[in-house]
Amino acid sequence: MAHVAVDPNDKEAVMIEKTGYDDHFHDHHHGDKYQSNFISHYIFSMDHKIIARQFLITGIFWAIVGAAMSIIFRLQLGFPEADLQWIKPLLGKWIVVDNGIGSLSQEFYYALVTMHGTILVFFVLTAGLSGTFSNLLIPLQIGARDMASPFLNMLSYWFFFLAGAVMFYSLFLNTGPFSGGWTGYPPLSALPQASTGSGTGMTLWLISLTLFVVSVLLGGINYITTILNLRTKGMSMWRMPLPMWAFFVTAVLGLLSFPVLASGFFMLMFDRGLGTSFFLNEIFIQGQALDRVGGSPILYQHLFWFLGHPEVYIIILPAMGIVSEVLSVHARKPIFGYQAMVLSILAIGFLSFIVWAHHMFMSGVNPFLSNFFVIFTLIIAVPSAVKVFNWITTLYGGNIRFNSAMLFAIGFVSMFISGGLTGIFLGNSAIDIQMHDTYFVVAHFHIVMGVAAFFGMFSGIYHWFPRMFGRFMNETLGRIHFWGTMIGAYAIFWPMHYIGMAGVPRRYYSFDTFESFNHFGPMNQFITIAAIIVFGLQILFVINFFYSIFKGKVMTEKNPYGANTLEWTTPIEAGHGNWPGKIPVVHRWAYDYGKDGREFIPQIEPMASDEVAGDH
């Protein structure tokens, strides 16, 4: 937006322009009281930077748990004949020993698949990704002392922690955790008779995710309020760095969609505990006809996917925002088409609410209804394509630094293309007849919202690690981590397209029963081995992460990347309140890289009198 000249007669304006905005932060002595002891500093902290680290480390914990689960069920799929007695100390009765050969029990296979999905989608890619970077970056990039409500922010983390604790406890139940798929479709999830995991396991799953919804809502309200109200002087909405737009829209999506999920959960709880029949109709199970009629299992699917689809954008938008920023900083070029990027985020956010039934083409909804959902679903490809082209053009003519953050950002774009394009197949209901619930779907969503979101997260972690911990992560390990994961992730998920195109359904414990599905033995072995190697590389990342917190290369200058945004104007050891003294004032957009012969021009630098704004 055009630069607004300061009226030279307005003395206050001139002073703010020159020295920053004085919000009298340190006139109140709360700053020190806040962090006076270990518990209030590191545990029940209300400082957004600490809460971000809490989200991140909790997310890493859950990522390891969730990924380890996938390795165990991949062993079953890749090596169904292998003896798994060596995991018996860990899994106990879930390893069934028959003729001296230990194999994974069917119930626990499905429990692992279910928990893997739940944990990765909600705990890692929602809380771990959006929770970490929204908290870290929103106040820092818009120039705020902290979140609008630091207390709600703290509650948001601790509700997430509680949700995690309940879910973790459910893993050790005698009847096992919930095993009916991460979508929790009734009647399977509503009836304890239907599956052992649908007993106490499902009760805890519902409690845990309800707590999680509370966490997301508390966080979301905070993010939205902060972005709308606490931007520093000069930081108009159109000057915000792209991660801010992404986190803002993400929070709005969460705020509008998670309550709908919660309503579905409450109805499911009533069906389970109070004898209602919201989702149950004419069921005969375990030799007994249930006295429940009039409900519809499809209603739950509507409620679930009304969250479920925005949820995938809740996962991917923050990654998109992070990647946009990282690509621009390390290509030393402005992000291409800033306004188009913002508009496409808004368009994706809006459209994400009217496409949910594309998960339900084959679920018995009226086929005529699907027409509308096909149209809206495929329209999403347009803003997505615009984003991809803009990212690629950002690279064009750049002066590119290949550090780990940049590599993961490039990798993100590759994954987003590969996974996004297969979405065009699945969103077209005619093709979905055959592809629905096959490995093609598994390949699609793992690449586009699993791997891509992880790449966005890795990119952000490598990039802002110095901002979080005052040290750099090891670059050599970072690059090994990148190339291994890039090749490994494609090695895992690319072949799944072929398995899906052969019609093999997902969520199969074994393929031996069907001669149509049993001929991918070697490929499944290959995928499992690749998964184990990629898992090892992530452990390498975790080692690098914790090692670098304590022993990494020390950050010696405030702005090591030569970036424009405000988070690089704070002291290396930024305390509570982020900026000692006054809050910086913003004079330009965040992407003046390579402008007027200068490598970069920070947002705090006033416009020269004859300068044309970069975002004209």
Binding site: W86, Q106, Y110, P186, P187, L188, A194, N281, I283, F284, I285, V293, S296, R332, M362, S363, G364, S370, N371, A381, A385, V386, F389, I392, Y396, G397, I400, R401, F402, I417, L421, F425, N428, A430, I431, I433, Q434, H436, D437, T438, T476, L477, R479, I480, I487, M501, A502, G503, Y509, F511, T513, E515, S516, H519, I529, I532, I533, I543, G594, G614
Partner: protein, 497 residues
């Protein structure tokens, strides 16, 4: 064991890599960080290029290598009428997305290689271009409109419900933990009503209502057998949780929802045998289907279409298999004739039969058929001209007809009325118990009762005569109860044609 070794290897590898990384950091410090960084940067840019080339080659080669395993390619063409249009849609989408995939990947990795950091230069300030942005918004929009229109066309054709005028077979599939129950409508072509409260695992797996006549001829086979070229409407339901009726070779997939029947309509176009012949041409199917028996049948010979479940339904989800056989029409009819109704086989005349005290339509029809063929036989052949009226019954010791007799007599009246000029004698017979004279009188009045009934139904009196023979013409020995029962009978004899 393999897993353990793999994990140990990975752990060891991790330790080695961490050490190497530390050494490289130290080494770079010694050699001057900035020059090492520039060197690594150039090398990484080159890796981007290598990755791009390797990745694209991998994609194309692997797709080519596996093409014969994928449905829609090589031996796996769709076996249903609508399937081909789905496969075409897939291929069209693949062409467009394939072009985008290759071009964007070339750009995505070529630019980093080309524009790697060079300290002597500053990046181009290129923040936006309205023309470019309009172009690359417009192109995807046009392509997607094309894909949407074409896709919806295919979809609405594939999913259209049946036109009641057309010829089709309706069958039913019911999913439960963990198998499929299949139900065919029997001769009437109609599936009977069900009530989930009537389900009984022992003798009524689908909760069929036995008072509904449409249920009496329904049968529950273990294989899904269908004639080639005939439209099939599968009514899909579930008893307990969600399932999904999935026929991969026919591109058929639909959720089975308890309490909410769904459907899918398709027309098989290839018999199992024809599909096997297709497979036979491919080396992958010319191997023994059981590797331990090298001389056994080959893979293509043992191929079968399969029915699977594609919606997570519990621990046995992966095992809900049924064999699907597509056969020629005559083979189908032969198979049909071998199937027997679940009701007649398991329910009729048991304590669970609500129709114990009455005849069911199926039996009435069957009796009609028997009477008709006996009648036609008697009319056309000279030597056997007597028909036994098996289902004409009287109250004990009386000449009043039992109610059930009307089915046979009504039909007989029809047959006689339509055979003008045919003259028959209706005769009554008894066993030898009681006095012969009494038997004679009784049989006479019974024969007359039959005659009067037929006249009442519009048969001309000229065609009919009635005679009682008492116990004079036994067909069996009167020594046994069975024999006596056979001797108590009504007959019809053709006198002149």
């Amino acid at each position: 064991m393999t897993g353990l070794i793999a994990i140990l290897t990975v752990v060891l590898l991790a330790v080695i890599i961490v050490q190497l990384a530390r050494i490289s950091e130290i080494a770079s410090k010694i050699r001057g960080e900035e020059s090492v960084r520039a060197q690594v940067n150039n090398r990484t840019a080159f890796y981007c290029l290598v990755f791009m080339i390797g990745f694209l080659i991998f994609c194309i080669v692997s797709a080519w290598y596996y093409k014969n395993d994928m449905l829609g390619y090589g031996p796996h063409a769709a076996a249903s009428a609508h399937g081909g249009s789905l496969d075409d849609m897939f291929d069209i989408t693949l062409v467009f997305t394939g072009i985008v995939f290759v071009l964007t990947h070339i750009a995505l990795f070529w630019f980093p290689y080309k524009y790697k950091e060079d300290k002597s230069r500053i990046a181009t300030f290129f923040a936006h271009s309205t023309t470019l942005e309009i172009v690359w918004t417009a192109i995807p929009t046009v392509v997607l409109i094309f894909l949407v229109v074409r896709g919806l066309n295919v979809w609405n054709n594939a999913m259209a419900d049946i036109d009641p005028e057309e010829d089709y077979i309706e069958i039913e599939a019911t999913g439960y933990q963990f198998a499929w129950d299949l139900r065919y409508p029997g001769n009437d072509g109609k599936l009977g009503t069900r009530d989930y409260k009537m389900i009984n695992t022992a003798n009524n797996p689908l909760g069929q209502d036995w008072t509904d006549e449409k249920n009496h001829d329904d049968f529950l086979p273990t294989e899904l057998v269908l004639p080639v070229g005939v439209k099939v409407r599968v009514r899909i339901t579930a008893k307990d949780v969600l399932h999904n009726f999935y026929l991969p070779h026919f591109r058929v997939k639909m959720d089975a929802v308890p309490g909410l029947p769904t459907y899918f309509i398709f027309t098989p176009i290839k018999t199992t045998d024809e599909y096997r012949q297709e497979l036979r041409k491919y080396p992958a199917y010319q191997v023994p289907s059981d590797p331990t028996e090298p001389d056994g049948p080959q893979k293509w010979e043992t191929f079968n279409y399969e029915l699977a479940c594609a919606e997570l339904c519990g621990k046995g989800h992966y095992s809900m298999r049924r064999v699907v056989r597509i056969v020629e029409q005559d083979e189908y009819e032969e198979w049909l004739s071998q199937q027997s109704s679940y009701y007649m086989l398991n329910i009729r005349y048991t304590e669970n039969d609500p129709n114990l005290d009455k005849l069911i339509g199926l039996e009435i029809n069957q009796r009609k058929q028997e009477l008709k063929s006996a009648f036609d036989n008697a009319v056309s052949m000279g030597d056997i001209n007597t028909i036994r009226l098996k289902n004409v019954f009287f109250e004990t010791g009386s000449a009043s007809l039992k109610n059930d007799s009307k089915y046979e007599l009504d039909y007989l009246a029809e047959l006689l009325s339509s055979s003008e000029g045919l003259k028959v004698e209706l005769s009554g017979h008894t066993d030898n118990t009681g006095e012969s004279e009494v038997n004679m009188t009784l049989s006479q009045s019974r024969a007359e009762a039959v005659r009067d009934y037929l006249i009442g139904k519009g048969v001309s009196a000229d065609q009919l005569s009635a005679k009682g023979y008492g116990d004079t013409k036994p067909v069996n020995s009167n020594e046994t109860e069975e024999g006596r029962q056979n001797n108590r009978r009504s007959e019809l004899k053709i006198i002149s044609k």
